[in-house]
């Protein structure tokens, strides 16, 4: 059993003996003054080099991956990355530089490098950067967790993963199992020429598994992945989720797929469980309301958006019962933090209110582009070595006022399909045409689930889809799903983001049978 306290103590002794200080002391326990000294050196060098604004992030990232398959522990990896990145604005132009060599001389020299990069690009820059105002904060914020996964001993994690295998493989016809846990801790220190010093420690946890059933006779195989979501929670999530029960159900459903009814093709009522709908929200709402996309800043990779600024406040995005909210303060959600990477305090706001498109996601340098006075606090960089830019906050569908249950919604459906879990996903570069599948599919006829289906996908167009929303479940059906690694930008950066939704029905959606 790893005794972390003892481990850290022994490292401090080693550090003192060699005269080198392990940087793990810089976070949490004093002296936070070390970080301040480095920040002051960086910001002073940036100003001396001509910067009108500068910020520095000195961050440490820890990841733990445990991967198991077919009753074996295959990989246990602990990663750690520590470094700093400096952003500057010189003559209205951004510049950025970073290094893994954290020291006073290096922070100063890298700050000068960032300024030189800004100056080299000045001639090309037709749009001087304008930052929305921000207050100065001197504070800390940590993801409220009950159990820090990095403090938890290894053995119980391994035991639980291997138990998942045993549970699943008890089911006749279950052939292969893989199970994993991933934990992330971002330790961030932000300082800016606006006078902020902000320390944050963010934690995310994700247990997952997949069961595959192979029929050697027919040559067919089907898989069913866990319906877990990555969460902005500690190890308490792993302990509280009914993983073993779900492993059994997943195995049964994978095996049952061989005999399931092929999906019907045509227009049907579509009921989506939050374990599927989260991804549809992510792709069709989360991405379409990114202001930088809408203005053409991401045209070269991620694309643009059909939600152009002329539609703001006017466009009917969805049915009147649809309310879609952005929220970087939401409990247990992965994009939740105290302050974004511009130093802006996080908040909650509507993107779509009663069906109408009302706002975007923004950062300090974007707010003025739509005549807003303040940033919505969506700036994020995935590493000390990457540039902060606008990333998706948690975006969720509000539950209905009436507490409609799963039974109520199925009971009200004469001819439909019900989809749980996420699988295939694809959407076009302006966020119109999309096609999704799922983990399990169920036929709904005359108010009841009548059969398990297979080989199903649904295809629609974003505004048509959201206008077809006709029944929204209540709070008791609401759950968070999320993406651990949403990609955007060049070079590509990842972002972790959660999406909450109740069980929801869409009146008529195109259903495909993908079997060939």
């Amino acid at each position: 059993m790893i005794d972390r306290r003892g481990f850290v103590q022994s490292m401090l002794v080693l550090g003192a003996a060699t005269g080198l200080r392990p940087s793990s002391i810089l976070f949490g326990s004093p002296p936070a003054g070390e970080l301040r000294d480095l920040a002051d050196a960086a910001l002073a060098a940036a100003k001396a080099a001509g910067a009108s604004y500068a910020d520095i992030r000195i961050n440490r990232y820890r990841n733990q991956f445990i991967f198991t398959r077919d009753r074996r522990v295959q990989n246990i990896v602990n990663t750690e990355s520590y470094g700093f990145g400096v952003r500057v604005i010189v003559d209205g132009t951004w510049g950025f530089a970073s290094s893994s060599n954290v020291g006073k001389d290096e922070v100063a020299s890298v700050s000068r490098q960032a300024a030189a990069i800004a100056k080299a690009n000045r001639k090309l820059n037709a749009e001087p950067v304008r930052l929305a105002p921000v207050e100065a904060y001197n504070t800390t914020w940590n993801t409220p967790v009950e159990k820090n996964p990095f403090d938890m001993p290894l053995q119980p994690k391994l035991d639980l993963l291997l138990q998942i295998h045993e549970e699943a493989l008890k089911i006749k016809g279950a052939s292969f199992v893989s199970a994993a846990m991933q934990f992330v801790n971002e330790q961030k220190y932000f300082a800016s020429t606006d006078g902020s010093h902000i320390e944050q420690s963010l934690i995310r946890s994700y247990p997952s598994f997949s069961v595959t059933s192979v029929d050697r006779g027919t040559g067919k195989f089907y898989s069913r992945a866990a319906l877990t979501a990555p969460m902005g929670m500690g190890y308490e999530y792993v302990e509280s989720y009914p993983l073993l029960e779900e492993a059994r159900v997943a195995a049964e459903e994978a095996v049952a797929m061989h005999k399931a009814k092929p999906a019907p093709a045509g227009q049907k009522a579509l009921i989506l469980h939050p374990t599927n709908l989260w991804l549809t929200i992510h792709e069709s709402v989360g991405h379409s309301t990114e202001l930088d996309r809408a203005l053409g800043y991401e045209a070269n990779l991620a694309g643009t958006s059909f939600l152009t600024p002329d539609k703001l406040g006017k466009f009917e995005f969805g049915a009147g019962i649809v309310n879609l909210v952005a929220d970087k303060t939401q409990d247990r959600a992965m994009a939740t933090c105290g302050y974004d990477d511009d130093g802006v305090k996080t908040t909650r706001w509507h993107l779509v209110k009663e069906g109408r498109f009302v706002d975007y996601q923004t950062t300090r340098d974007q707010a003025h582009l739509i005549d807003q006075k303040a940033s919505h606090g969506c700036s994020y960089a995935d590493s000390w070595s990457s540039i902060p830019f606008q990333r998706m906050p948690n975006v969720s569908l509000e539950p209905g006022e009436k507490d409609l249950t799963e039974r109520d919604i199925i009971g009200a459906t004469d001819d439909g399909v019900y989809v749980k879990g996420d699988a295939s996903y694809s959407i076009d570069q302006q966020r119109y045409n999309f096609q999704f599948s799922g983990q399990t599919f169920w036929e709904v006829k005359n108010g009841r689930i009548t059969a398990q289906l297979r080989d199903l996908a649904y295809q629609s167009n974003t505004p048509e889809f959201w206008k077809a929303c006709d029944l929204i479940g209540g709070r008791s059906t609401y759950a968070l799903g999320g993406a651990f690694s949403d990609g955007k930008g060049q070079p590509v950066q990842i972002n972790s983001v959660s999406h909450g939704a109740p069980i929801t029905r869409f009146a008529r959606v195109n259903i495909l049978n993908t079997g060939r």
């Binding site: 490292m11 295959q74 950025f96 893994s100 090309l124 040559g219 070595s385 295939s424 694809s426 076009d428």
Partner: protein, 447 residues
């Protein structure tokens, strides 16, 4: 941070000397990367990053633990080593763990070029200005990206294995859109060598496509003959090869599984003109000489005359099945033919010319069915001539079907796909091809 052979060896020697486990493995990766983004005809962000990462694997028999760190002072290295050893001691045995390799003979090729390693912010700015100047003149709005990077990799273990290699990559890609929002064009290239990158030509190509794709008309879903430009064919090639794992096939859960057991190596799965291989020394796509365990990356043939020749074998699965393990690969090459793109178009009675694909995801692993979209220039071909631009389409198709339906190909060229495959880590070389009966399933309003 780019280190020399000596600097890397000094670090790996130190880690191995500090390690106490039965077997130690250490890899060191470092890079210097710099980039410039532009959009709305202006520079947006730009940055440089210099980093190093050390991964330490400690093993006691069949128990292993891995830690990584970006700090290379002795105290930090010691912390990472002890941590890996602790994890290894706590780990259950993994019977699939392969013993560390002994010293290997590597055949490094020239994959590192000084003109990329020494590229300046001024060069990057000038290369962006090449696109921006032309865009303003032609009244289009461009967004793009230029990146230059130098990377080194070293691997060493307690059995005396040591390898050191480096590569460079220069990427240039852009999207040009007409002000009325109805036209969009795209071009992308990557090379190990800066002098091969031609920003002016790439910019002209994207801008030309933008102009020619204005006001597209809709076409009906259905099966079409498609002329796939290399970037589009490259995506089908890459996605197919990502699914070509031997163990998965032997376990019965892959398209490459044989009904009743085993895999489909030896079967003619593709049209007989299809040849796919890897060669670290390919002049257009030179790549590094070894993988993270120190296994040499060698030339290998995956498909020849349409017959599946090999799949990807891990060391464990290769030993179990009596096959050669396959490392990497660092590149994928598909041989082409002797037609020109004009020939491919001229030979099309009715079809569409595809610039690139977008948002490809697996739909059914059983049949290797994928879904995706077209983007940045889709043009109707009628009686051998491009007649008009058409609206983008979603497709549901299998690369296996596409590779069986190839009618003609151009010569192969270095490619970066619409999904961004083909720079840095895995280089791609493939031709353009005319493919019949490609399935478009629904229309997209997206430009």
């Amino acid at each position: 941070m780019i280190w020399t052979h000596q600097q890397a060896k000094a670090l790996t020697d130190k880690v191995l000397s500090l390690g106490k486990a039965d077997e130690m493995l250490v890899t060191v990766n470092g890079s210097d990367r710099a980039n410039l983004r532009f959009a709305r005809n202006t520079a947006t962000t730009s940055g440089a990053s210099s980093g190093i990462s050390v991964a330490v694997t400690a093993r006691y028999g069949k128990r292993a633990g891995v830690t990584t760190t970006s700090e290379v002072d002795e105290a930090s290295l010691l912390k990472a080593i002890r941590n890996a050893e602790e994890i290894a001691k706590l780990s259950p045995e993994n019977p699939e763990l392969m013993p560390a390799l002994g010293p290997q003979a590597y055949k490094p090729v020239k994959a590192y070029f000084d003109d990329v390693a020494n590229a300046t912010p001024e060069w990057r700015a000038a290369s962006a200005e090449a696109a921006l100047g032309l865009s303003r003149k032609q009244d289009v709005v461009s967004a793009g990206f230029v990146e230059t990077q130098a990377v080194f990799q070293a691997v060493a273990n307690s059995k005396g294995l040591f390898g050191f290699d480096r590569f460079t990559a220069a990427d240039y890609n852009l999207t040009s859109r007409t002000p009325d929002g109805t036209g969009s064009g795209w071009a992308a290239k990557a090379f190990n060598e800066l002098r091969l990158l031609d920003p002016e030509t790439l910019a002209a190509s994207a801008i030309d496509k933008a102009a020619r794709s204005r006001n597209p008309a809709a076409i009906e879903p259905g099966k079409y003959t498609v002329v796939l430009e290399p970037a589009a064919l490259g995506d089908l090639l890459a996605f197919m090869m990502f699914s070509a794992d031997a163990r998965q096939a032997d376990e019965g859960r892959s398209f490459f599984s044989k009904k009743g057991g085993g895999n489909r190596i030896g079967e003619p799965l593709f049209g007989d003109k299809v040849r796919v291989y890897s060669d670290p020394g390919h002049p257009l796509a030179p790549s590094i000489a070894f993988d993270g365990q120190g296994l040499p990356i060698e030339s290998n043939i995956w498909v020849d005359k349409g017959v599946l020749k090999d799949l990807f074998y891990s060391r464990f699965w290769a030993e179990k099945m009596g096959r050669k393990p396959t490392a990497g690969p660092g590149n994928l090459i598909m041989d082409g033919g002797s037609a020109s793109t004009a020939d491919l178009i001229a030979g099309t009675e009715r079809g569409v010319l595809v610039t690139r694909f977008w948002y490809i995801r697996p739909l059914d692993p059983q049949t290797l069915l994928f879904t995706g979209l077209t983007r940045d220039g889709l043009f109707l071909i009628e009686k051998g001539k491009i007649t008009r631009p058409v609206k983008n389409m979603r497709w549901n198709e299998s690369p296996i079907v596409a590779f069986n339906n190839i009618e003609a190909m151009t010569a192969a060229e270095r490619v970066v796909t619409g999904e961004g495959i083909g720079s840095g880590g895995l280089a791609l070389v493939c031709p353009a091809a005319r493919v019949r009966e490609f399935t478009f399933t629904s229309a997209s309003d997206a430009i």
